[in-house]
């Protein structure tokens, strides 16, 4: 062939190909109507709101669901796209923690069990219909009756109507309802309160009314009972200038680093500290409740130096603690968490209750009238007796509902083998977990956002659970399943409505459905002191022994609670606030321990205890005690720990462990760069005139911006920020931020628009700085964009126009705060998680730079609403996602041109400063530093 012919053929074939591709019928976009429209005023583009309850942890905060109409896979329907707290709810006051914010990740999880399954004879699961499964259960119950076997119902914490229904079901079918199982059972606290006050309950702690708080081990912001509740109460208490807070703990927790003073204490020595406090305050105070005094006098008398050497706390600190405690008008002591979960934990709890009684805290601050509903929750002892029952092969049908004993109980229990000893095991769950995998019949549960129900987290409060979406798979709620097993024709919804109408009347029920909860007055409880029991207990108290070598502390985790929230993919994407590690496990050790073993971050270490050994990477954690190492309990198979048979509490410590460096270095995503602030200007400048240098004029290249009606600004109170990361989680859900995964985290490419940066300040204390786009007036990122995708809008925001961005990345290069996130890849959420995408905001593809926009979609919606009414936006109408969910109200947003607005007033405070002020970027975000010398001498 010659050259010309070749070119002709080339031309014709390429031309034909192009022409032929034109003939392809490009599917044009469809527009899908409803068949039957929903009944209320539902308009596409306007969200609906529904009040229900969050069931991610037993705290059961009130939750408001934002439901948006959108078309998903050619079906137009309503989908919940955002979760918030209910304004004014007694538990959470309109805020939600990071696990609650990630609730949609459970609802739309691709790992949900979609249909009923039964194990057939060969041992594998096959899909079954509900009828088959329920029949199988009926047969199982009948067979158990014939064989004379016992049946049992084992569930996680259940309150409200479901609890009643389970009772009815168990009575009817001759099933023993076992005490509910929760890993955090607070067994020692309940037992102590039973002994001291004759009330085996957990009281409500009114932190907001206290002027002095002493927490012993209790991680009140992370998992202790009702963390969101404690957080907002703490924020209220802090408004009082005289408020001070001492936190004493053997490990290192997020709660502890927020306290005015955090004291590291030797594990098991809390009772010595409490004895010391009891005796010193008795000397200092006039307020004495008589029966307690004799008991206190009977306690062993430790001189100050002995207390100091036993607890590991310096004499100065002990004296200042005693003085502050003594001077307080309304002190409050809370013990819990790691300090009540060891061999002497019951002593700690009893002495705390005694202290509460003597200092008259039980009058107001320690409130048993609104006690938390933990009465039906059992302890480890109950699990042990279940184990024995199973060993004797007397178990007929075993129902396991809403919990995962196989992974929550120590691995040594081999619970997976134990439950097979029952004739028939029925697992009820929404996710496939280790327990359910061992069951014979799996009944998939609907998520709480798909079902009806109610709950009573504490006395006097009833929360409603109402569905925001129809069940997406062939799932049913537990109430419906039980009613069907009872051969009852009605649905659980009717059961509930009948009960509500009977108890609250028609109007009351309607009101309850509208607000999402109902508060009923409770009779005031006057606690009485059981002198006999306490004095007898105190007489038999043993002195603690400290021969435990290096001890492993299993700590609770704010990201996964006791491990249950690990199912939520978002919880692994957001780093742990103290160590800033996102994916994977780690072991925290003190700097001295690290030096001794010549370990640094990411080195692998082998941890050996009596019964097990593990390999984990190391993270060096300043302020952790030298003989304590910490691992979050859900990161490792649960080790067997000692059980205190007086109360049933299982210890959270493994004594006498040894560490050995293996020499391997593991890739661990530690997301913070450096925690040393080095006077860079991110934390408040600690010189005398440390506030803004308003007098310094920076040279300006460009003319001043003019703002007509609005100038959006933000004020962040660093004193209130507790580093809980609720804002981060809320931002992810509100703004369709992609989850990038471990590999990208190792490259430093996490996509969070707001992140909590931990630093050690000048006094070597932790400070958390929420960092997001500062919306600088003099933004370095604006002049460098070659396509003008990043510009300053007339309302003071730095706007990023996503579809104009070509991916030059010069803006991110120039940003001194490094808050601009680039989409290196397309990280679309895996189906069906993409149902949660917020339709008010785009989903960015790869090659696009994105960053915090101060929730411009909310600003737009509020301006739209205001324009309908022909007025300007009022202060408080626009709340960005981060500000809305912050339990301590650390973030305030508003119009800086409105001198009456809260944000303007906060920005005028003498604590206000800008981050990296000397660069002259003039951010719209004002940080309020911690009040001067916040630490007592």
């Amino acid at each position: 062939m010659d050259r010309r012919d070749f070119l002709k053929i080339l031309g014709i074939t390429s031309g034909t190909m192009m022409v032929s591709s034109c003939g392809v019928d490009k599917a044009s976009e469809k527009i899908i109507p409803y068949v039957i429209p929903p009944d209320e005023d539902v308009y596409p583009g306007n969200p609906l709101f529904l009040n229900t309850t969050c069931t991610e942890c037993p705290a059961n905060c009130g939750m408001q669901v934002e439901i948006n109409e959108k078309v998903y896979h050619d079906v137009r329907s309503l989908y919940p796209t955002k979760l918030e707290g209910i304004e004014g709810h007694p538990l959470n006051e309109g805020t939600l923690c990071m696990r609650g914010q990630a609730g949609l990740f459970r609802l739309y999880s691709p790992d949900r069990i979609q249909r009923t399954m039964m194990r057939h004879d060969q041992g594998n699961f096959r899909v079954a219909t509900w009828k088959e499964a329920l029949t199988r259960i009926e047969e199982g119950l009948n067979r158990a009756k014939q064989d004379g076997k016992k049946n049992a119902y084992f569930s996680g914490r259940t309150t409200g109507s479901l609890s009643e229904l389970i009772d009815r079901f168990c009575r009817n079918k001759d099933i023993e309802r076992l005490p509910e199982f929760e890993v955090f059972s607070y067994a020692n606290i309940k037992r102590a309160n039973e002994m001291v006050f004759r009330r085996p309950q957990i009281p409500k702690y009114h932190i907001e009314k206290a002027d002095f708080l002493l927490t012993i081990g209790a991680d009140i912001f992370e998992t202790h009972i009702s963390p969101v509740s404690h957080s907002w109460r703490f924020a209220r208490a802090r408004k009082n200038e005289n408020f001070s807070w001492y936190h004493v703990e053997p490990n290192l927790s997020l709660t502890g680093v927020q306290a005015t003073r955090r004291l590291s204490l030797r594990p098991r020595s809390e009772m010595v500290l409490l004895t010391f406090l009891l005796q010193t305050v008795l000397e200092q105070n006039e307020r004495k409740n008589n029966p307690g005094i004799t008991i206190v006098r009977s306690l062993p008398n430790y001189p100050l130096d002995e207390v100091s050497s036993l607890t590991g706390i310096s004499e100065t600190d002990l004296r200042s603690l005693a003085t502050s405690f003594g001077n307080a008008k309304k002190p409050l002591v809370i013990a819990g968490g790691v300090s009540t979960a060891h061999q002497l934990g019951l002593e700690v709890a009893v002495l705390t209750s005694l202290l509460q009684w003597i200092m008259a805290m039980t009058d107001e601050l320690v409130d048993f009238s609104q006690a938390e509903s933990y009465e039906s929750i059992g302890t480890f002892k109950d699990v042990e007796s279940l184990n024995e029952q199973l060993d004797q092969n007397t178990m007929g049908v075993l129902f396991i509902s809403r919990m995962d004993p196989v992974s929550m109980l120590p691995a040594v229990f081999k619970f997976s083998r134990q439950i097979k000893k029952a004739q028939l095991t029925v697992g009820l769950s929404d996710h496939m977990n280790d327990t359910v995998r061992e069951c014979d019949v799996i009944l998939p549960l609907s998520h709480s956002l798909e079902s009806w129900g109610d709950s009573q987290p504490c006395r006097g409060l009833t929360n409603v659970i109402q569905p925001a979406i129809d069940p997406q798979y062939d799932t049913r709620s537990e109430g419906d399943i039980l009613l069907q097993l009872l051969n009852n024709e009605s649905t659980y919804k009717n059961f509930l409505f009948e009960k509500w109408n009977k108890n609250y009347g028609d109007a009351g029920t309607k009101e309850m459905l509208k607000t999402g909860y109902r508060s009923d007055p409770v009779p005031k409880v006057m606690v009485s002191f059981n002198t006999l029991a306490v004095s007898s207990f105190v007489r038999h108290m043993e002195k603690p022994n400290f021969n435990y070598g290096v001890v492993l502390c299993l700590s609770p985790s704010i990201r996964s609670y006791d491990g249950r929230s690990r199912d939520l993919k978002l919880m692994q994407e957001i780093p742990d606030p103290l160590s800033t590690i996102s994916y994977g496990g780690w072991i925290s050790i003190s700097p001295l321990t690290a030096e001794y073993f010549r370990l640094k971050d990411r080195d692998e270490v082998e941890l050996t205890a009596q019964e097990f050994s593990l390999k984990l990477p190391v993270k060096v954690q300043k302020h952790l005690s030298d003989n304590v190492v910490m691992v979050q309990r859900d990161l490792i198979p649960v080790p067997l720990t000692a059980v205190d048979h007086r109360s049933g509490e299982a210890s959270w410590y493994v004594p006498n462990i040894s560490l050995q460096k293996t020499g391997v270095v593991l890739p661990v995503p530690i997301l913070s760069g450096s925690m040393e602030e080095n006077h860079r200007g991110i934390l408040p400048p600690d010189d005398d005139h440390g506030h803004r240098h308003d007098d310094e004029e920076h040279p300006r290249w460009y003319p001043e911006h003019e703002h007509k009606d609005y100038r959006w600004g933000m004020a962040i109170d660093l004193e209130s920020c507790i580093g809980c990361n609720a804002c981060t989680a809320a931002c992810y859900v509100e703004n369709n931020i992609p989850l990038v995964g471990l590999k990208e985290h190792l490259n430093g490419r996490e996509m969070s628009w707001i992140r909590i940066q931990p630093y050690y300040d000048a006094n070597d204390n932790f400070e958390f700085v929420p960092m997001m786009c500062q919306q600088c007036d003099n933004a370095p990122c604006e002049p460098v964009c070659p396509v003008y995708a990043s510009y300053h809008n007339p309302e003071g925001l730095n706007v990023q126009v996503y579809n104009r961005c070509v991916g030059t990345r010069y803006c991110s290069n120039n940003c001194p705060y490094k808050v601009r996130r680039f989409n290196w890849f397309d990280h679309r959420l895996v189906e069906p998680l993409d149902k949660m995408y917020n339709p008010a905001i785009s989903v960015r593809g790869r090659g696009i730079m994105e960053k915090c926009t101060f929730c411009i979609q909310r600003i737009r919606a509020a301006k739209d609403h205001a324009k309908d009414e022909n007025r300007l936006v009022q202060d408080g109408e626009i709340i960005p996602a981060c500000a809305q969910t912050c339990p301590t109200e650390a973030i305030t947003f508003g119009n800086m041109k409105d001198t009456e607005s809260r944000v303007y007033q906060l920005a005028q405070s003498e604590r206000a400063y800008h981050a990296l002020e000397e660069l002259g970027t003039e951010p719209a975000v004002n940080y309020l530093g911690k009040r001067g010398n916040n630490h007592e001498a």
């Binding site: 010309r4 002709k8 031309g11 014709i12 031309g15 192009m18 022409v19 034109c22 003939g23 044009s28 976009e29 469809k30 527009i31 899908i32 109507p33 409803y34 068949v35 039957i36 429209p37 005023d41 308009y43 596409p44 583009g45 306007n46 050619d74 079906v75 137009r76 510009y791 809008n793 007339p794 309302e795 925001l797 706007v799 126009v801 996503y802 579809n803 104009r804 008010a840 905001i841 785009s842 989903v843 411009i856 979609q857 737009r860 739209d864 324009k867 309908d868």
Partner: protein
């Protein structure tokens, strides 16, 4: 072969190819602007002859950013009794009985819809009439897209009417 005929053939080929492709392009645009709908709904009939107002079916235009497409129930309100023998109505009834939403082909597609926010409510409240943007729908037997929905067209009208031209107004 005569000298000069080979280049002439190539030029003729390229030229005809360009004409062909542009014809295809034109017809494809027409098809997109006037797509074939699953049911041959005539706005001319329903608006001019029957006298329905725009908001009778496009119910949310004053209340929300989207105008709203009528649910099948709205059609059946009349068509359970009216003209039930016509073939198009039979198609409609079948959709209704099987409870399947009618898969209309979208005519007004904003380019890059993911990134653009358009609020009908704001424009109606701003004083615009439906016909200002959508053209004389009442004389269209088959609905077609009248304006080119390009940003320039939007911005030019915004400039004239003193509406905001800030990027953040529309880009989300």
């Amino acid at each position: 072969m005569k000298k000069g005929i080979a280049p002439a053939i190539i030029i003729l080929y390229i030229f005809s190819f360009m004409v062909f492709v542009s014809l295809i392009g034109y017809f494809w645009q027409q098809n997109r602007k006037t797509p074939k709908q699953p049911i041959n709904f005539s706005h001319q009939l329903h608006v001019s002859r029957v006298g329905l107002a725009c908001t009778h079916c496009h119910y949310s235009v004053e209340k929300s950013p989207a105008a709203g497409i009528p649910p099948v129930q709205t059609c059946m309100n009349c068509h359970q009794a009216v003209a039930t023998d016509r073939p198009e109505i039979k198609k409609l009834t079948q959709y209704w009985e099987e409870k399947i939403p009618i898969p209309w082909k979208r005519v007004y597609v904003l380019p890059v819809r993911n990134y653009v926010y358009f609020s009908h409510k704001r424009h109606i409240k701003g004083g615009l009439q439906c016909v200002n943007c959508h053209g004389n729908v009442e004389v269209m037997p088959v609905i077609k897209q009248v304006p080119e929905l390009e940003m320039g067209w939007c911005v030019s009208c915004h400039r004239v009417k003193n509406a905001p031209v800030d990027c953040a107004t529309c880009h989300k």
